[in-house]
């Protein structure tokens, strides 16, 4: 058996391979040799073989056969073997494998080894791949080292303890008394790990945050010593003393000072000192300043300090270093909701950042711009954003377009500006505009009756220039179909247009191969509606156009064409009624007054409503509209489908005009504008969330199927509508009786069923009300009996336990 080759020879061979296939061959050959070596229990060269195995593992080749060898290396007495063995265990094993448990014994032995480097190897491995069981077994040894070991081992043991408590939080009590000594140690490494350990504990649970507030004075003193201590060569990085430790301490102060005014007061001085004294010419100084700014904004600091912080961020924004600018934008985004006015001062710089070529900076700047829009600056900001939309990289376009539409809806000063903006979005955003914005726009147009002529003329000119943008075309088709007669008379916005022109423009959209199916469908609808609006000599042309699609391969177009044609041919008397102008949509928003119009008081109310509530309802709006968030990041768990979906249905089946538009069943009050009382808004959001309890089928068999629909009448009362379906094909169900009982803390009221007999494939319904003041889990015991075709069935006893949790929570 020849000596296994050295690692560096293997690497040389791999590098000498000219193609990937050759490389694979070399590696596979060597893996076979290594496997032979393992099989022969070669003790002397095992270390070398495992090192080679780790190398090929990094290149992506399978190395699982080395796991047991790693174990054998770890128990060897030689330091070199142990080193490679532990490295291999960190790279090849992980906490999910049972094999890892086998190391526990050797780890235990090595944690008590006399050489500190062996102990450090064991601690390192434990810190990287510790599992819950290993944590429990070895916590004692780690604690011993934290207490008594040299500084080199103390710091490793502390970080090891961090991982242990992450895996098994109950073990925190073993370590918690050691913290004060750790923080008082002179060695910077130990201080660093100590602070990291405290941070970890605070992340796990808030009660530790409470406990450690006591050590804020000690931390402040630590930081002061660092700053005042002068030059210390071993911890110096570019002229600043141990910046990593400073950053860590400042971050911990942030966690401890959050929402607590007394600790925040203690920190004010030191934070001000750091903020003013740190040198900003190098990156390290900036790192410390950045952390300080985040802390000042995160705790309950005094207002002078906050102004200082925002000014530092403003300075960062003007820096020439891209990294600093990115970091500044990021932190401004985090603080914009609490200190909106201060950030407004830097709005112009932020708008300038929109011209930066770096996509990371752009993304931050865009999010920040949207967060900063308010009633006063909406015009200027929107102008910049629209210019940005034209030139930005395509991955941004759809987000920016949808956010512009939402913001325009929220802050538009008047209706004309609103419609203008959205038209501009449609023309510049092109095909990136998401589909949900189309119903919004249509709704908006229909509700502003005064601007119909303006809107239609703009849209008509837009599509005349042969636009390829599908969303624009769809909106245009709908508008022209509805309000086309305005164009016939001419107005201040456009000249008189011949009716043939109108028809031709819609027809060309229909015929163009570049139009999508939905655009063509919109166009067909529009043409049909024009039959009412245009002079009657064009009726034959319209009929001809519509009939053309009667044989279309596309089902949607074919159906529309055939139905319209039959409407025109057979039921022409009903046509005017059906195709008349659509009534205004059921209001899904409260009457929203524009901020510039008649209500200056309303505008002030909007500005003063709590930003937190705005965030909640803005995100509710976002979620409901399904248009993504603007970086507010506050998720609201509503599953109410977007009410705008209903309006899109209305648009699609425009010829069903004589039916009242379907009313959105979900509570639309959650979409109220920003003028309402914050408490009721939150309550209605919660109600809207709770309205959407999924319906539930507790039971179904060959004869009867049971289905329950839920609705919360009040916070404690649940209304259940139970539907019983007769599943049999021929037999009649008669004498149906249903009894129900609920646990003691609940009350149930049964109403009379709609009928006592059910024909085949028909249903009956029964209402029930459950009063659940203590929010106990809902369970129901029911007894049913009926007669199927004269034969009595039952009584059937059933316990229903798996109601959807939202029904009783």
């Amino acid at each position: 058996m020849p000596t296994p080759i050295r690692l560096r020879d293997l690497i040389r061979n791999i590098r000498a391979a000219k193609t990937a296939a050759e490389e694979r061959e070399v590696i596979q050959k060597e893996c076979a040799e290594i496997r032979n070596g393992f099989r022969e229990e070669d003790n002397i060269f095992r270390c070398r073989n495992v090192a080679k195995l780790l190398y090929v593992h990094m290149l992506g080749f399978p190395a699982h056969f080395g796991q047991m060898e790693v174990m054998k290396l770890v128990v060897s007495p030689r330091f070199t073997d142990k080193r490679i063995g532990y490295l291999g265990s960190m790279l090849l094993l992980d906490e999910n494998r049972e094999v890892t448990m086998l190391i526990t014994n050797s780890l235990k032995n090595d944690l008590e080894h006399s050489s500190q480097y062996v102990v450090s190897l064991a601690l390192c491995t434990l810190g990287n791949i510790c599992s819950s069981e290993m944590a429990r077994d070895l916590a004692q040894d780690v604690e011993r080292i934290m207490r008594n070991g040299p500084a080199y081992l103390k710091k490793k043991a502390t970080l090891c303890a961090c991982r242990i408590i992450r895996k098994e939080p109950e073990l925190i009590d073993n370590f918690i008394q050691l913290v004060p000594t750790l923080l008082n140690d002179k060695h910077h490494g130990v201080m660093l790990s100590g602070v990291a350990f405290v941070t970890e504990m605070c992340n796990i649970s808030d009660e530790y945050t409470e406990k450690f507030r006591r050590s804020v004075p000690a931390l402040v003193r630590m930081l002061k010593n660092l700053i005042m201590s002068g030059f210390s060569p071993e911890h110096d990085v570019s002229g600043v003393v141990d910046p990593f430790l400073q950053v860590r301490i400042i971050r911990l102060l942030r966690i401890l000072g959050k929402n607590d005014s007394s600790s925040s007061e203690l920190m004010n001085d030191i934070l001000a000192q750091v903020a003013t004294n740190t040198e900003t010419s190098k990156n390290v100084g900036n790192a410390i300043l950045y952390e300080t700014v985040l802390t000042i904004m995160g705790i309950k600091s005094e207002s002078g300090l906050r102004v200082l912080a925002i000014n530092i961020l403003g300075r960062f924004l003007l820096s020439s270093d891209k990294n600093i600018r990115y970091v500044a934008l990021n932190s401004l985004l985090k603080t914009v909701h609490t200190d909106r006015n201060a950030v407004q001062r830097h709005r112009s710089t932020i708008l300038d950042c929109l011209k930066d070529p770096d996509p990371s900076v752009l993304r931050r700047a865009v999010d920040l711009c949207f967060a900063l829009i308010n009633d006063q600056n909406v015009r200027g900001t929107m102008r910049e954003l629209l210019i940005f939309l034209e030139n930005c990289p395509s991955e941004f376009k759809s987000d920016v377009a949808s956010n512009i539409v939402i913001s325009a809806g929220r802050y538009a000063p008047n209706a004309q500006w609103h419609i203008d903006t959205i038209l501009k979005v449609l023309t510049t955003g092109g095909n990136y505009v998401p589909d949900q914005t189309i119903p919004i726009l249509i709704h908006l147009i229909s509700s502003t009756a005064s601007l119909h002529s303006y809107t239609v003329s703009q849209l008509f000119t837009a599509i005349k220039s042969n636009s390829l943008h599908q969303p624009l075309n769809q909106v245009a088709c709908w508008c022209i179909g509805e309000y086309g007669e305005v164009l016939l008379t001419g107005s201040e916005y456009s000249d008189l247009v011949q009716p043939e022109e109108i028809l031709k423009s819609l027809n060309s959209l229909c015929e163009s191969h570049l139009s999508s199916t939905s655009t063509k469908s919109y166009a067909v609808n529009g043409i049909a509606k024009l039959a009412n609006r245009l002079p009657t000599h064009l009726m034959p042309t319209i009929k001809r156009i519509l009939a053309r699609y009667g044989t279309s391969m596309n089902l949607e177009l074919q159906q529309r064409s055939v139905e319209f044609s039959s409407l025109f041919n057979k039921h022409d008397d009903k046509r005017p009624g059906i195709l008349e102008r659509m009534p205004l949509f059921e209001k899904t928003e409260e009457e929203r007054s524009y901020s510039e119009s008649n209500d200056p008081a309303a505008g002030e109310k909007a500005a003063s409503s709590a930003p937190a509530v705005n965030t909640a309802q803005q995100s509710a709006l976002d979620d409901l509209l399904g248009l993504g968030d603007i970086g507010t990041g506050a998720p609201v768990a509503t599953s109410a489908p977007a009410p705008v979906m209903n309006s899109s249905n209305l648009v699609r089946c425009g010829h069903d005009n004589n039916k009242p538009p379907p009313i959105a069943k979900r509570t639309p009050e959650s979409e109220r504008g920003p003028f309402s009382d914050p408490e009721t808004t939150l309550r209605t959001i919660r109600q809207a969330a709770s309205n959407s309890i999924p319906s539930f089928e507790p039971w179904c068999d060959d004869n009867l199927g049971m289905k329950m629909d839920f609705q919360k009448i009040d916070t404690n009362v649940l209304a259940i509508n139970m539907t019983i379906t007769n599943n049999s094909l021929a037999y009649e169900v008669t004498d149906f009786s249903f009894l129900a009982a609920v646990p003691k803390q609940l009350q149930i009221n049964l109403a009379q069923p709609s009928s006592l007999s059910v024909s085949p494939q028909m249903t009956l319904s029964q209402q029930m009300r459950v009063n659940n003041p203590n929010k106990v889990a809902l369970k129901m015991k029911c007894k049913m009996s009926y007669k199927l075709n004269g034969n009595p069935v039952g009584p059937i006893d059933k316990v229903i336990g798996n109601f959807p949790p939202s029904a009783w929570e």
Binding site: M1, T80, N128, C160
Partner: protein, 190 residues
């Protein structure tokens, strides 16, 4: 927490990879490919921060990278780490490598991947920063290397002998015996 430390060259070949969270081997390779695709597309002069790819983990993760000559040093971190601090940490790592390997270049990293891991283990443990002082890290590393060298010195002899014995080649005597020429000894007969 630091999720991963990756060093790869301009062509995307991994030189050192360390993951502080468990990913399967296949996942590890796809993560490396994805990150390389993201990072190589960046031009010079843009900032060093990238939003993380889909594989490594959602929006919370950030890639912080630095490009030195032929190598990319990439740290994948979550939001609890300070971005500028990690940039400094990369700088410290490179300086440490420079001190330990004496004017480090890519070849050093290629041939001494295990040593780079040992150095990394002195600086980062379990995804958290352990030690940032240059001199401390370098001195500890040198001490451990000394121990290894001593051990190799002691045990080199037996392993050398064993190695030599294994590869010894006995001369092929059969053929030589055939052709052996006996010396012409003077005849002892009178």
């Amino acid at each position: 927490m630091i999720k991963a430390v990756l060093i790869f060259n301009n062509q995307g070949k991994p030189r050192v990879t360390k993951f502080y969270q468990h990913y399967s081997e296949q996942d590890q390779q796809s993560i490396i490919e994805e990150i390389f695709a993201l990072v190589s597309r960046r031009e010079e002069g843009v900032c060093s921060f990238l939003e993380g790819g889909k594989l490594v983990g959602g929006s919370d993760y950030r890639l912080i990278y630095r490009h030195y000559a032929t190598l990319y040093f990439i740290f994948c971190v979550d939001s609890s780490e300070s971005e500028l601090g990690i940039l400094d940490l990369i700088q410290v790592l490179v300086e440490v490598l420079d001190r330990c390997f004496e004017n480090v270049c890519e070849l050093d990293l290629i041939f001494h991947m295990d040593k780079v891991h040992f150095i990394l283990n002195e600086m980062i443990m379990g995804g958290m920063v352990l030690e940032t002082s240059l001199s401390e890290i370098v001195s500890r590393y040198h001490e451990q290397e000394k121990i290894c060298k001593q051990e190799i010195g002691f045990s080199k002899t037996p392993s050398m002998v064993a190695g030599a014995l294994k590869s010894i080649e006995l001369p092929n005597l059969k053929n030589e015996l055939k052709n052996i020429e006996l010396p012409k000894l003077p005849s002892l007969r009178r």
